[in-house]
Amino acid sequence: MSAAAILLPRIASTRRRWLRRYGLATLGGAIVLAWVLAALLAPWVLPHDPTFVNVANRLKPPSATHWFGTDALGRDVLARVVYGARVSLSVGMVVVLIGALFGTLLGAIAAYARGWAEEALMRATDLVFCFPPIILAMAIAAALGIGTVNTVIAMLVVWWPKFARLARSLVITQRSLEYVEAAQSVGYGPAHILLRQIMPNAVGPLIVLVTLDLGQAILVFAGLSFLGLGVVPPTPEWGAMVAEGRELVQQWWVATFPGLAILTVVMGFNFVGDGIRDWLDPHARTR
Protein backbone atom coordinates (compact mmCIF):
# COMPACT_ATOMS: atom_id res chain seq x y z
CA MET A 1 0.00 0.00 0.00
CA SER A 2 1.89 3.04 -1.21
CA ALA A 3 1.26 6.50 0.14
CA ALA A 4 -0.61 7.31 -3.05
CA ALA A 5 -3.12 4.57 -2.44
CA ILE A 6 -4.01 6.03 0.93
CA LEU A 7 -4.00 9.70 -0.02
CA LEU A 8 -5.54 9.84 -3.52
CA PRO A 9 -9.27 9.29 -3.94
CA ARG A 10 -10.27 6.08 -5.60
CA ILE A 11 -10.97 7.00 -9.18
CA ALA A 12 -11.98 3.57 -10.43
CA SER A 13 -15.64 3.30 -11.23
CA THR A 14 -17.93 1.33 -9.00
CA ARG A 15 -18.48 -1.27 -11.66
CA ARG A 16 -14.77 -1.80 -12.20
CA ARG A 17 -14.23 -2.10 -8.49
CA TRP A 18 -16.99 -4.68 -8.21
CA LEU A 19 -15.49 -6.61 -11.09
CA ARG A 20 -12.05 -6.59 -9.53
CA ARG A 21 -13.32 -7.90 -6.27
CA TYR A 22 -16.03 -10.29 -7.39
CA GLY A 23 -14.96 -11.07 -10.94
CA LEU A 24 -13.25 -14.32 -10.01
CA ALA A 25 -16.16 -15.38 -7.85
CA THR A 26 -18.58 -14.86 -10.72
CA LEU A 27 -16.31 -16.86 -12.99
CA GLY A 28 -16.22 -19.62 -10.41
CA GLY A 29 -19.97 -19.57 -10.12
CA ALA A 30 -20.30 -19.83 -13.87
CA ILE A 31 -17.94 -22.82 -13.94
CA VAL A 32 -19.86 -24.63 -11.20
CA LEU A 33 -23.16 -23.86 -12.87
CA ALA A 34 -21.85 -25.17 -16.18
CA TRP A 35 -20.80 -28.44 -14.59
CA VAL A 36 -24.10 -28.85 -12.77
CA LEU A 37 -25.98 -28.29 -16.00
CA ALA A 38 -23.71 -30.70 -17.83
CA ALA A 39 -24.27 -33.33 -15.19
CA LEU A 40 -28.03 -32.90 -15.26
CA LEU A 41 -28.40 -32.80 -19.04
CA ALA A 42 -25.83 -35.52 -19.74
CA PRO A 43 -28.10 -38.28 -21.04
CA TRP A 44 -29.70 -35.95 -23.56
CA VAL A 45 -26.76 -33.97 -24.79
CA LEU A 46 -24.01 -36.54 -25.21
CA PRO A 47 -23.67 -38.47 -28.47
CA HIS A 48 -21.96 -41.48 -26.91
CA ASP A 49 -22.77 -43.84 -24.06
CA PRO A 50 -20.16 -43.78 -21.29
CA THR A 51 -20.21 -47.52 -20.66
CA PHE A 52 -20.34 -48.72 -24.24
CA VAL A 53 -17.30 -50.90 -24.75
CA ASN A 54 -15.78 -51.05 -28.22
CA VAL A 55 -12.34 -52.58 -27.98
CA ALA A 56 -11.66 -52.12 -31.67
CA ASN A 57 -11.83 -48.39 -31.05
CA ARG A 58 -9.52 -48.34 -28.04
CA LEU A 59 -7.08 -45.58 -27.21
CA LYS A 60 -7.92 -43.32 -30.09
CA PRO A 61 -6.67 -39.72 -29.72
CA PRO A 62 -9.12 -36.82 -29.57
CA SER A 63 -10.97 -36.44 -32.86
CA ALA A 64 -14.13 -35.02 -34.31
CA THR A 65 -16.26 -37.97 -33.24
CA HIS A 66 -14.60 -38.43 -29.86
CA TRP A 67 -13.69 -35.00 -28.59
CA PHE A 68 -11.68 -36.37 -25.69
CA GLY A 69 -10.58 -39.58 -27.36
CA THR A 70 -11.30 -43.11 -26.18
CA ASP A 71 -9.95 -45.08 -23.26
CA ALA A 72 -8.46 -48.56 -23.01
CA LEU A 73 -11.83 -50.21 -23.56
CA GLY A 74 -12.87 -47.96 -26.40
CA ARG A 75 -15.28 -45.93 -24.29
CA ASP A 76 -15.79 -42.27 -25.11
CA VAL A 77 -13.78 -40.23 -22.62
CA LEU A 78 -15.94 -37.10 -22.96
CA ALA A 79 -19.07 -39.04 -22.03
CA ARG A 80 -17.30 -40.62 -19.08
CA VAL A 81 -16.03 -37.26 -17.91
CA VAL A 82 -19.50 -35.68 -18.04
CA TYR A 83 -21.13 -38.68 -16.34
CA GLY A 84 -18.35 -38.59 -13.79
CA ALA A 85 -19.56 -35.13 -12.88
CA ARG A 86 -22.82 -36.65 -11.70
CA VAL A 87 -21.04 -38.96 -9.29
CA SER A 88 -18.55 -36.40 -8.02
CA LEU A 89 -21.01 -33.55 -7.58
CA SER A 90 -23.60 -35.68 -5.79
CA VAL A 91 -21.03 -37.28 -3.49
CA GLY A 92 -19.56 -33.88 -2.70
CA MET A 93 -22.94 -32.41 -1.89
CA VAL A 94 -24.07 -35.32 0.24
CA VAL A 95 -20.88 -35.46 2.28
CA VAL A 96 -20.56 -31.74 2.86
CA LEU A 97 -24.22 -30.93 3.48
CA ILE A 98 -24.81 -33.79 5.87
CA GLY A 99 -21.47 -33.27 7.56
CA ALA A 100 -22.12 -29.54 7.87
CA LEU A 101 -25.61 -30.02 9.25
CA PHE A 102 -24.55 -32.61 11.76
CA GLY A 103 -21.35 -30.87 12.75
CA THR A 104 -22.86 -27.42 13.05
CA LEU A 105 -25.73 -28.66 15.18
CA LEU A 106 -23.38 -30.55 17.45
CA GLY A 107 -20.94 -27.69 17.76
CA ALA A 108 -23.59 -25.04 18.33
CA ILE A 109 -25.43 -27.05 20.96
CA ALA A 110 -22.23 -27.96 22.75
CA ALA A 111 -21.06 -24.35 22.76
CA TYR A 112 -24.37 -23.07 24.08
CA ALA A 113 -24.70 -25.78 26.70
CA ARG A 114 -21.11 -25.30 27.88
CA GLY A 115 -19.70 -27.48 30.62
CA TRP A 116 -18.85 -31.11 30.03
CA ALA A 117 -20.78 -31.26 26.75
CA GLU A 118 -18.46 -28.69 25.26
CA GLU A 119 -15.36 -30.43 26.61
CA ALA A 120 -16.52 -33.80 25.30
CA LEU A 121 -17.10 -32.30 21.86
CA MET A 122 -13.63 -30.76 21.82
CA ARG A 123 -11.96 -34.04 22.71
CA ALA A 124 -13.99 -35.91 20.12
CA THR A 125 -13.04 -33.49 17.38
CA ASP A 126 -9.42 -33.53 18.53
CA LEU A 127 -9.44 -37.28 18.18
CA VAL A 128 -10.69 -37.17 14.62
CA PHE A 129 -8.24 -34.40 13.80
CA CYS A 130 -5.37 -36.65 14.87
CA PHE A 131 -5.87 -38.60 11.68
CA PRO A 132 -5.24 -37.09 8.31
CA PRO A 133 -8.57 -37.43 6.52
CA ILE A 134 -7.29 -39.64 3.77
CA ILE A 135 -5.81 -42.20 6.13
CA LEU A 136 -8.95 -42.47 8.24
CA ALA A 137 -11.19 -42.57 5.21
CA MET A 138 -8.89 -45.22 3.78
CA ALA A 139 -9.09 -47.32 6.92
CA ILE A 140 -12.86 -47.13 7.08
CA ALA A 141 -13.33 -47.71 3.39
CA ALA A 142 -10.97 -50.67 3.55
CA ALA A 143 -12.95 -51.93 6.52
CA LEU A 144 -16.38 -51.59 4.99
CA GLY A 145 -15.35 -52.57 1.51
CA ILE A 146 -15.18 -50.47 -1.62
CA GLY A 147 -18.20 -48.83 -3.12
CA THR A 148 -19.61 -45.34 -3.29
CA VAL A 149 -21.88 -45.57 -0.24
CA ASN A 150 -19.19 -46.95 2.05
CA THR A 151 -16.74 -44.32 0.95
CA VAL A 152 -19.31 -41.60 1.59
CA ILE A 153 -19.81 -42.98 5.11
CA ALA A 154 -16.06 -43.00 5.63
CA MET A 155 -15.80 -39.40 4.48
CA LEU A 156 -18.73 -38.32 6.66
CA VAL A 157 -16.90 -39.59 9.74
CA VAL A 158 -13.96 -37.29 9.05
CA TRP A 159 -15.97 -34.39 7.72
CA TRP A 160 -18.23 -33.27 10.54
CA PRO A 161 -15.59 -32.17 13.13
CA LYS A 162 -14.39 -29.09 11.32
CA PHE A 163 -17.92 -27.76 11.14
CA ALA A 164 -18.44 -28.56 14.79
CA ARG A 165 -15.29 -26.63 15.68
CA LEU A 166 -16.23 -23.66 13.55
CA ALA A 167 -19.81 -23.57 14.80
CA ARG A 168 -18.53 -23.77 18.36
CA SER A 169 -16.16 -20.85 17.95
CA LEU A 170 -18.86 -18.78 16.27
CA VAL A 171 -21.43 -19.49 18.97
CA ILE A 172 -18.88 -18.71 21.67
CA THR A 173 -18.43 -15.25 20.18
CA GLN A 174 -22.15 -14.70 20.22
CA ARG A 175 -23.28 -16.33 23.44
CA SER A 176 -21.90 -13.71 25.78
CA LEU A 177 -23.36 -10.79 23.85
CA GLU A 178 -26.15 -8.75 25.33
CA TYR A 179 -28.91 -9.69 22.96
CA VAL A 180 -28.60 -13.29 24.09
CA GLU A 181 -28.88 -12.23 27.71
CA ALA A 182 -31.88 -10.12 26.80
CA ALA A 183 -33.56 -13.01 25.02
CA GLN A 184 -32.92 -15.27 27.97
CA SER A 185 -34.36 -12.81 30.43
CA VAL A 186 -37.47 -12.38 28.33
CA GLY A 187 -37.98 -16.12 28.62
CA TYR A 188 -37.12 -17.56 25.25
CA GLY A 189 -36.10 -21.21 25.40
CA PRO A 190 -32.56 -22.27 24.48
CA ALA A 191 -33.66 -23.86 21.22
CA HIS A 192 -35.26 -20.63 20.04
CA ILE A 193 -32.30 -18.52 21.09
CA LEU A 194 -29.84 -20.80 19.42
CA LEU A 195 -31.67 -21.26 16.16
CA ARG A 196 -33.43 -17.97 15.63
CA GLN A 197 -31.14 -15.50 17.37
CA ILE A 198 -27.57 -16.77 17.40
CA MET A 199 -27.25 -18.85 14.27
CA PRO A 200 -28.29 -16.15 11.77
CA ASN A 201 -25.38 -14.09 13.06
CA ALA A 202 -22.99 -16.98 12.82
CA VAL A 203 -23.99 -18.46 9.51
CA GLY A 204 -21.64 -16.48 7.26
CA PRO A 205 -18.30 -18.25 7.81
CA LEU A 206 -20.17 -21.55 7.81
CA ILE A 207 -21.42 -20.88 4.31
CA VAL A 208 -17.90 -20.05 3.20
CA LEU A 209 -16.65 -23.31 4.64
CA VAL A 210 -19.43 -25.30 2.99
CA THR A 211 -18.61 -23.84 -0.40
CA LEU A 212 -14.89 -24.43 -0.08
CA ASP A 213 -15.45 -27.90 1.28
CA LEU A 214 -17.56 -28.94 -1.67
CA GLY A 215 -14.43 -28.73 -3.74
CA GLN A 216 -12.36 -30.49 -1.07
CA ALA A 217 -14.83 -33.35 -0.81
CA ILE A 218 -14.69 -33.88 -4.55
CA LEU A 219 -10.89 -33.95 -4.36
CA VAL A 220 -10.83 -36.45 -1.52
CA PHE A 221 -13.38 -38.72 -3.14
CA ALA A 222 -11.49 -38.65 -6.41
CA GLY A 223 -8.33 -39.49 -4.51
CA LEU A 224 -9.95 -42.46 -2.81
CA SER A 225 -11.28 -43.69 -6.13
CA PHE A 226 -7.83 -43.27 -7.60
CA LEU A 227 -6.49 -45.62 -4.93
CA GLY A 228 -9.21 -48.11 -5.75
CA LEU A 229 -11.35 -47.51 -2.68
CA GLY A 230 -14.17 -45.43 -4.10
CA VAL A 231 -16.46 -46.33 -6.91
CA VAL A 232 -16.87 -49.75 -8.34
CA PRO A 233 -16.09 -50.10 -12.05
CA PRO A 234 -17.51 -49.48 -14.61
CA THR A 235 -19.05 -46.42 -12.97
CA PRO A 236 -17.29 -43.45 -14.51
CA GLU A 237 -15.54 -41.37 -11.89
CA TRP A 238 -12.79 -38.86 -12.38
CA GLY A 239 -10.29 -40.26 -9.91
CA ALA A 240 -10.76 -43.80 -11.14
CA MET A 241 -10.32 -42.62 -14.72
CA VAL A 242 -7.01 -41.00 -13.86
CA ALA A 243 -5.95 -44.26 -12.25
CA GLU A 244 -6.82 -46.15 -15.42
CA GLY A 245 -4.80 -43.75 -17.53
CA ARG A 246 -1.88 -43.53 -15.12
CA GLU A 247 0.42 -45.84 -17.04
CA LEU A 248 -0.62 -44.52 -20.43
CA VAL A 249 1.81 -41.68 -20.81
CA GLN A 250 1.58 -41.79 -24.60
CA GLN A 251 -2.21 -41.82 -24.54
CA TRP A 252 -2.25 -38.74 -22.37
CA TRP A 253 -5.92 -37.92 -22.97
CA VAL A 254 -7.21 -40.79 -20.85
CA ALA A 255 -5.85 -39.35 -17.61
CA THR A 256 -5.57 -35.66 -18.49
CA PHE A 257 -9.20 -34.74 -19.14
CA PRO A 258 -10.72 -36.23 -15.98
CA GLY A 259 -8.04 -34.45 -13.98
CA LEU A 260 -8.79 -31.19 -15.74
CA ALA A 261 -12.45 -31.71 -14.86
CA ILE A 262 -11.56 -32.06 -11.19
CA LEU A 263 -9.30 -29.03 -11.39
CA THR A 264 -11.93 -26.77 -12.93
CA VAL A 265 -14.75 -27.82 -10.61
CA VAL A 266 -12.66 -27.43 -7.48
CA MET A 267 -11.29 -24.10 -8.67
CA GLY A 268 -14.84 -22.96 -9.34
CA PHE A 269 -15.92 -23.79 -5.80
CA ASN A 270 -12.79 -22.17 -4.39
CA PHE A 271 -13.41 -18.96 -6.33
CA VAL A 272 -17.00 -18.80 -5.16
CA GLY A 273 -16.04 -19.51 -1.56
CA ASP A 274 -13.37 -16.81 -1.62
CA GLY A 275 -15.85 -14.39 -3.11
CA ILE A 276 -18.39 -15.06 -0.39
CA ARG A 277 -15.69 -14.65 2.21
CA ASP A 278 -14.63 -11.32 0.74
CA TRP A 279 -18.25 -10.22 0.64
CA LEU A 280 -18.73 -11.00 4.31
CA ASP A 281 -15.48 -9.41 5.42
CA PRO A 282 -16.15 -6.03 7.03
CA HIS A 283 -12.55 -4.89 6.51
CA ALA A 284 -12.68 -5.37 2.78
CA ARG A 285 -15.86 -3.33 2.46
CA THR A 286 -14.37 -0.10 3.74
CA ARG A 287 -11.68 0.07 1.05
Binding site: P132, A139, G145, G215, A222, T256, I262
Partner: protein, 337 residues
Protein backbone atom coordinates in the same frame (compact mmCIF):
# COMPACT_ATOMS: atom_id res chain seq x y z
CA UNK B 1 4.42 -22.55 32.10
CA UNK B 2 5.75 -25.93 33.21
CA UNK B 3 2.27 -26.98 34.25
CA UNK B 4 0.99 -26.00 30.83
CA UNK B 5 3.66 -28.04 29.09
CA UNK B 6 3.06 -31.09 31.25
CA UNK B 7 -0.70 -30.97 30.88
CA UNK B 8 -0.34 -30.70 27.11
CA UNK B 9 2.02 -33.66 27.11
CA UNK B 10 -0.38 -35.78 29.11
CA UNK B 11 -3.24 -34.85 26.81
CA UNK B 12 -1.04 -35.73 23.87
CA UNK B 13 -0.27 -39.20 25.15
CA UNK B 14 -3.92 -39.84 25.91
CA UNK B 15 -4.80 -38.74 22.40
CA UNK B 16 -2.35 -41.15 20.85
CA UNK B 17 -3.67 -44.04 22.92
CA UNK B 18 -7.26 -43.20 22.13
CA UNK B 19 -6.38 -43.05 18.47
CA UNK B 20 -4.92 -46.54 18.54
CA UNK B 21 -7.99 -47.79 20.38
CA UNK B 22 -10.30 -46.31 17.78
CA UNK B 23 -8.40 -47.86 14.92
CA UNK B 24 -8.18 -51.16 16.78
CA UNK B 25 -11.95 -51.21 17.12
CA UNK B 26 -12.48 -50.22 13.51
CA UNK B 27 -10.01 -52.80 12.28
CA UNK B 28 -11.78 -55.46 14.28
CA UNK B 29 -15.19 -54.77 12.91
CA UNK B 30 -13.68 -55.35 9.54
CA UNK B 31 -15.25 -58.04 7.42
CA UNK B 32 -11.76 -58.66 6.08
CA UNK B 33 -9.94 -61.30 8.07
CA UNK B 34 -6.16 -61.10 8.17
CA UNK B 35 -6.00 -64.87 8.34
CA UNK B 36 -7.91 -65.24 5.09
CA UNK B 37 -5.94 -62.46 3.51
CA UNK B 38 -2.53 -63.89 4.42
CA UNK B 39 -3.11 -67.56 3.74
CA UNK B 40 -3.57 -68.78 0.24
CA UNK B 41 -6.90 -70.05 -1.04
CA UNK B 42 -6.11 -73.70 -0.38
CA UNK B 43 -4.84 -73.12 3.11
CA UNK B 44 -7.69 -70.79 3.98
CA UNK B 45 -10.26 -73.46 3.19
CA UNK B 46 -8.70 -75.76 5.76
CA UNK B 47 -10.13 -74.78 9.17
CA UNK B 48 -7.22 -76.38 11.03
CA UNK B 49 -4.68 -74.21 9.25
CA UNK B 50 -6.76 -71.11 9.81
CA UNK B 51 -7.04 -71.88 13.50
CA UNK B 52 -3.30 -72.42 13.78
CA UNK B 53 -2.64 -69.16 12.00
CA UNK B 54 -4.97 -67.28 14.28
CA UNK B 55 -3.44 -68.88 17.36
CA UNK B 56 0.05 -68.01 16.18
CA UNK B 57 -0.78 -64.34 15.73
CA UNK B 58 -2.97 -64.15 18.80
CA UNK B 59 -6.04 -63.43 16.72
CA UNK B 60 -8.22 -65.82 18.67
CA UNK B 61 -7.82 -64.00 21.94
CA UNK B 62 -10.62 -61.70 23.12
CA UNK B 63 -10.36 -58.18 21.77
CA UNK B 64 -9.41 -56.45 24.97
CA UNK B 65 -6.62 -58.95 25.51
CA UNK B 66 -5.23 -58.31 22.07
CA UNK B 67 -5.33 -54.59 22.71
CA UNK B 68 -3.68 -55.00 26.09
CA UNK B 69 -0.87 -57.02 24.54
CA UNK B 70 -0.45 -54.31 21.94
CA UNK B 71 -0.15 -51.65 24.64
CA UNK B 72 2.36 -53.68 26.60
CA UNK B 73 4.55 -54.18 23.59
CA UNK B 74 4.18 -50.52 22.65
CA UNK B 75 5.48 -49.51 26.06
CA UNK B 76 8.58 -51.54 25.38
CA UNK B 77 9.02 -50.07 21.92
CA UNK B 78 7.93 -53.22 20.16
CA UNK B 79 5.45 -52.42 17.44
CA UNK B 80 4.58 -56.01 16.66
CA UNK B 81 5.23 -58.22 13.69
CA UNK B 82 3.61 -57.42 10.39
CA UNK B 83 1.32 -60.17 9.20
CA UNK B 84 2.00 -59.35 5.58
CA UNK B 85 5.77 -59.10 5.60
CA UNK B 86 6.56 -61.30 8.64
CA UNK B 87 9.08 -58.71 9.79
CA UNK B 88 8.86 -56.51 12.84
CA UNK B 89 6.74 -53.52 11.95
CA UNK B 90 9.38 -51.25 13.41
CA UNK B 91 11.87 -52.54 10.84
CA UNK B 92 9.37 -51.98 8.06
CA UNK B 93 8.76 -48.45 9.21
CA UNK B 94 12.46 -47.69 9.58
CA UNK B 95 12.85 -48.87 6.01
CA UNK B 96 10.12 -46.68 4.61
CA UNK B 97 10.25 -43.61 6.80
CA UNK B 98 13.43 -41.91 5.51
CA UNK B 99 12.08 -41.78 1.96
CA UNK B 100 9.02 -39.91 3.15
CA UNK B 101 11.03 -37.73 5.52
CA UNK B 102 13.36 -36.65 2.74
CA UNK B 103 10.58 -35.95 0.28
CA UNK B 104 8.32 -34.20 2.78
CA UNK B 105 11.04 -31.95 4.13
CA UNK B 106 12.29 -30.85 0.73
CA UNK B 107 8.74 -30.26 -0.52
CA UNK B 108 7.92 -28.25 2.58
CA UNK B 109 11.06 -26.13 2.33
CA UNK B 110 10.32 -25.49 -1.33
CA UNK B 111 6.81 -24.34 -0.57
CA UNK B 112 8.07 -22.10 2.24
CA UNK B 113 10.81 -20.52 0.15
CA UNK B 114 8.39 -19.68 -2.63
CA UNK B 115 5.17 -19.25 -0.68
CA UNK B 116 6.21 -16.89 2.10
CA UNK B 117 7.76 -14.17 -0.09
CA UNK B 118 4.94 -14.54 -2.59
CA UNK B 119 2.30 -14.11 0.10
CA UNK B 120 4.08 -11.12 1.61
CA UNK B 121 4.52 -9.34 -1.70
CA UNK B 122 0.93 -10.12 -2.68
CA UNK B 123 -0.26 -8.49 0.51
CA UNK B 124 1.99 -5.45 0.27
CA UNK B 125 1.04 -4.85 -3.36
CA UNK B 126 -2.59 -5.73 -3.02
CA UNK B 127 -4.65 -6.04 -6.21
CA UNK B 128 -1.56 -5.69 -8.39
CA UNK B 129 -0.71 -8.22 -11.06
CA UNK B 130 1.61 -9.96 -8.63
CA UNK B 131 -1.24 -10.29 -6.18
CA UNK B 132 -3.56 -11.71 -8.80
CA UNK B 133 -1.04 -14.17 -10.17
CA UNK B 134 -0.10 -15.26 -6.66
CA UNK B 135 -3.73 -15.87 -5.82
CA UNK B 136 -4.26 -17.71 -9.06
CA UNK B 137 -1.21 -19.93 -8.61
CA UNK B 138 -2.12 -20.78 -5.06
CA UNK B 139 -5.70 -21.54 -6.03
CA UNK B 140 -4.57 -23.87 -8.79
CA UNK B 141 -2.16 -25.55 -6.40
CA UNK B 142 -4.88 -26.11 -3.86
CA UNK B 143 -7.47 -27.24 -6.40
CA UNK B 144 -5.44 -29.62 -8.49
CA UNK B 145 -5.67 -33.27 -7.47
CA UNK B 146 -2.23 -34.43 -6.37
CA UNK B 147 -2.37 -37.72 -8.20
CA UNK B 148 -3.28 -35.98 -11.43
CA UNK B 149 -0.63 -33.32 -11.05
CA UNK B 150 1.92 -36.07 -10.46
CA UNK B 151 0.86 -37.78 -13.66
CA UNK B 152 0.93 -34.55 -15.69
CA UNK B 153 4.33 -33.52 -14.37
CA UNK B 154 5.72 -36.98 -15.03
CA UNK B 155 4.20 -37.13 -18.50
CA UNK B 156 5.52 -33.73 -19.52
CA UNK B 157 8.95 -33.56 -17.92
CA UNK B 158 9.83 -37.23 -18.13
CA UNK B 159 7.71 -38.73 -20.87
CA UNK B 160 7.81 -35.90 -23.36
CA UNK B 161 10.68 -33.52 -22.61
CA UNK B 162 12.94 -36.07 -20.94
CA UNK B 163 14.31 -33.43 -18.62
CA UNK B 164 13.78 -35.34 -15.39
CA UNK B 165 14.36 -38.99 -14.47
CA UNK B 166 11.52 -41.42 -14.04
CA UNK B 167 9.82 -42.82 -10.94
CA UNK B 168 11.76 -44.16 -8.00
CA UNK B 169 14.39 -42.70 -5.72
CA UNK B 170 17.34 -43.69 -7.89
CA UNK B 171 17.95 -44.97 -11.38
CA UNK B 172 17.41 -48.72 -11.65
CA UNK B 173 21.06 -49.21 -12.53
CA UNK B 174 22.36 -46.95 -9.79
CA UNK B 175 24.12 -48.44 -6.79
CA UNK B 176 22.46 -47.25 -3.58
CA UNK B 177 24.87 -46.01 -0.92
CA UNK B 178 25.48 -47.77 2.32
CA UNK B 179 22.62 -46.99 4.67
CA UNK B 180 23.60 -44.64 7.45
CA UNK B 181 20.49 -42.59 7.98
CA UNK B 182 18.38 -43.79 5.10
CA UNK B 183 18.20 -40.26 3.74
CA UNK B 184 19.85 -40.56 0.36
CA UNK B 185 21.02 -36.99 0.13
CA UNK B 186 22.79 -37.16 3.47
CA UNK B 187 24.17 -40.65 3.04
CA UNK B 188 25.71 -39.96 -0.34
CA UNK B 189 27.11 -36.64 0.83
CA UNK B 190 28.66 -38.25 3.89
CA UNK B 191 30.61 -40.77 1.85
CA UNK B 192 31.34 -38.36 -0.95
CA UNK B 193 29.44 -40.28 -3.63
CA UNK B 194 28.49 -37.22 -5.62
CA UNK B 195 27.22 -39.06 -8.67
CA UNK B 196 24.57 -40.88 -6.68
CA UNK B 197 23.87 -37.66 -4.79
CA UNK B 198 23.13 -36.01 -8.10
CA UNK B 199 20.93 -38.92 -9.13
CA UNK B 200 18.96 -38.87 -5.89
CA UNK B 201 18.53 -35.11 -6.12
CA UNK B 202 17.30 -35.38 -9.70
CA UNK B 203 14.75 -37.98 -8.69
CA UNK B 204 13.56 -35.76 -5.86
CA UNK B 205 12.74 -32.81 -8.10
CA UNK B 206 9.45 -33.87 -9.64
CA UNK B 207 7.77 -35.44 -6.61
CA UNK B 208 8.73 -32.49 -4.38
CA UNK B 209 7.29 -30.04 -6.89
CA UNK B 210 4.03 -31.99 -6.91
CA UNK B 211 3.87 -32.20 -3.13
CA UNK B 212 4.89 -28.58 -2.75
CA UNK B 213 2.14 -27.39 -5.08
CA UNK B 214 -0.74 -27.71 -2.67
CA UNK B 215 1.24 -26.68 0.39
CA UNK B 216 2.49 -23.67 -1.55
CA UNK B 217 -1.06 -22.64 -2.25
CA UNK B 218 -1.97 -22.94 1.39
CA UNK B 219 1.03 -21.00 2.66
CA UNK B 220 0.68 -18.21 0.11
CA UNK B 221 -2.99 -17.69 0.88
CA UNK B 222 -2.51 -17.78 4.64
CA UNK B 223 0.49 -15.46 4.55
CA UNK B 224 -1.32 -13.01 2.30
CA UNK B 225 -4.45 -12.96 4.46
CA UNK B 226 -2.49 -12.62 7.67
CA UNK B 227 -0.25 -9.88 6.25
CA UNK B 228 -3.29 -7.97 4.99
CA UNK B 229 -4.73 -8.14 8.47
CA UNK B 230 -1.49 -6.96 10.05
CA UNK B 231 -0.95 -4.16 7.54
CA UNK B 232 -4.38 -2.75 8.35
CA UNK B 233 -3.56 -2.37 12.01
CA UNK B 234 -2.93 0.94 13.69
CA UNK B 235 0.61 0.17 14.73
CA UNK B 236 1.60 -0.15 11.10
CA UNK B 237 0.12 3.24 10.41
CA UNK B 238 2.16 4.64 13.30
CA UNK B 239 5.32 2.99 12.01
CA UNK B 240 4.80 4.51 8.58
CA UNK B 241 4.03 7.87 10.09
CA UNK B 242 7.27 7.69 12.01
CA UNK B 243 8.98 7.56 8.65
CA UNK B 244 10.40 4.03 8.88
CA UNK B 245 11.50 2.37 5.66
CA UNK B 246 8.76 0.33 4.03
CA UNK B 247 10.99 -2.72 4.23
CA UNK B 248 11.40 -2.29 7.98
CA UNK B 249 7.70 -1.80 8.52
CA UNK B 250 6.82 -4.93 6.59
CA UNK B 251 9.45 -7.31 7.88
CA UNK B 252 10.00 -5.91 11.34
CA UNK B 253 6.53 -4.88 12.40
CA UNK B 254 3.83 -6.54 10.33
CA UNK B 255 5.45 -9.87 9.51
CA UNK B 256 6.04 -11.22 13.03
CA UNK B 257 2.40 -10.61 13.88
CA UNK B 258 1.25 -12.31 10.73
CA UNK B 259 3.29 -15.42 11.41
CA UNK B 260 0.94 -16.98 13.93
CA UNK B 261 -1.66 -18.48 11.59
CA UNK B 262 1.05 -19.28 9.09
CA UNK B 263 2.95 -21.31 11.67
CA UNK B 264 -0.20 -23.16 12.69
CA UNK B 265 -1.23 -24.14 9.20
CA UNK B 266 2.33 -24.68 8.09
CA UNK B 267 2.91 -27.07 10.95
CA UNK B 268 -0.23 -28.99 10.10
CA UNK B 269 0.78 -29.08 6.47
CA UNK B 270 4.21 -30.47 7.32
CA UNK B 271 2.65 -33.12 9.52
CA UNK B 272 0.37 -34.04 6.65
CA UNK B 273 3.32 -34.36 4.32
CA UNK B 274 5.23 -36.43 6.85
CA UNK B 275 2.49 -38.96 7.30
CA UNK B 276 3.00 -39.96 3.74
CA UNK B 277 1.43 -38.57 0.61
CA UNK B 278 -0.09 -41.73 -0.74
CA UNK B 279 -0.96 -40.36 -4.15
CA UNK B 280 2.40 -38.87 -4.99
CA UNK B 281 4.24 -41.89 -3.65
CA UNK B 282 2.08 -44.22 -5.72
CA UNK B 283 2.60 -42.37 -8.98
CA UNK B 284 6.34 -41.92 -8.44
CA UNK B 285 6.89 -45.42 -7.05
CA UNK B 286 8.34 -43.81 -3.95
CA UNK B 287 8.94 -46.42 -1.22
CA UNK B 288 7.54 -44.31 1.60
CA UNK B 289 5.17 -44.44 4.55
CA UNK B 290 2.16 -43.48 2.47
CA UNK B 291 2.38 -46.53 0.28
CA UNK B 292 3.15 -48.70 3.27
CA UNK B 293 0.03 -47.39 5.01
CA UNK B 294 -2.10 -48.05 2.00
CA UNK B 295 -0.77 -51.55 1.50
CA UNK B 296 -1.29 -52.40 5.14
CA UNK B 297 -4.83 -51.06 5.06
CA UNK B 298 -5.71 -53.13 2.01
CA UNK B 299 -4.09 -56.28 3.38
CA UNK B 300 -5.80 -55.76 6.75
CA UNK B 301 -2.42 -56.11 8.42
CA UNK B 302 -3.47 -55.40 12.03
CA UNK B 303 -0.08 -54.86 13.65
CA UNK B 304 1.08 -52.61 10.84
CA UNK B 305 -2.14 -50.60 10.83
CA UNK B 306 -2.04 -50.12 14.59
CA UNK B 307 1.59 -49.14 14.57
CA UNK B 308 1.14 -46.68 11.74
CA UNK B 309 -1.88 -45.15 13.45
CA UNK B 310 0.07 -44.72 16.65
CA UNK B 311 2.92 -43.08 14.76
CA UNK B 312 0.68 -40.84 12.68
CA UNK B 313 -1.23 -39.72 15.75
CA UNK B 314 2.05 -39.18 17.58
CA UNK B 315 3.43 -37.06 14.74
CA UNK B 316 0.32 -34.89 14.61
CA UNK B 317 0.23 -34.49 18.34
CA UNK B 318 3.93 -33.66 18.43
CA UNK B 319 3.62 -31.08 15.67
CA UNK B 320 0.59 -29.51 17.36
CA UNK B 321 2.55 -29.40 20.57
CA UNK B 322 5.52 -27.70 18.92
CA UNK B 323 3.22 -25.22 17.21
CA UNK B 324 1.61 -24.39 20.55
CA UNK B 325 5.03 -23.88 22.12
CA UNK B 326 6.06 -21.62 19.28
CA UNK B 327 3.03 -19.45 19.96
CA UNK B 328 4.62 -18.53 23.26
CA UNK B 329 7.71 -17.34 21.44
CA UNK B 330 5.89 -15.52 18.67
CA UNK B 331 3.18 -13.87 20.72
CA UNK B 332 4.10 -12.98 24.31
CA UNK B 333 0.47 -12.25 25.05
CA UNK B 334 -0.24 -15.98 24.97
CA UNK B 335 1.95 -16.66 27.99
CA UNK B 336 0.70 -13.82 30.15
CA UNK B 337 -2.73 -14.80 31.34
Amino acid sequence: MIRYVISRLVTAVVMVLLATLVVFLIANTVPGDPAMAALGDMQASDPVQVREFRAKWGLDLPLWEQYWMFLQRLAQGDLGISIASRRPVLDDIIDYAPATLELATIAFLLSLVIGLPLGIIAAVRRDSWIDHSARFISLVGVSAPTFWLAFIVLAIFYGWLDWAPGPGRLDPIAFPPERITGLLLIDTALIGDWETFHDALAHLVLPSIVLAASTLGLITRTTRAAMLDALNQDYVRVARAKGLLARVVVTGHALPNAMLPVVTLGGLAYANLLTGAVMTETVFSWPGLGRYTFRSAVAVDFPAIMAITAIVAAIFVLVNFLVDMSYAMLDPRVVKK
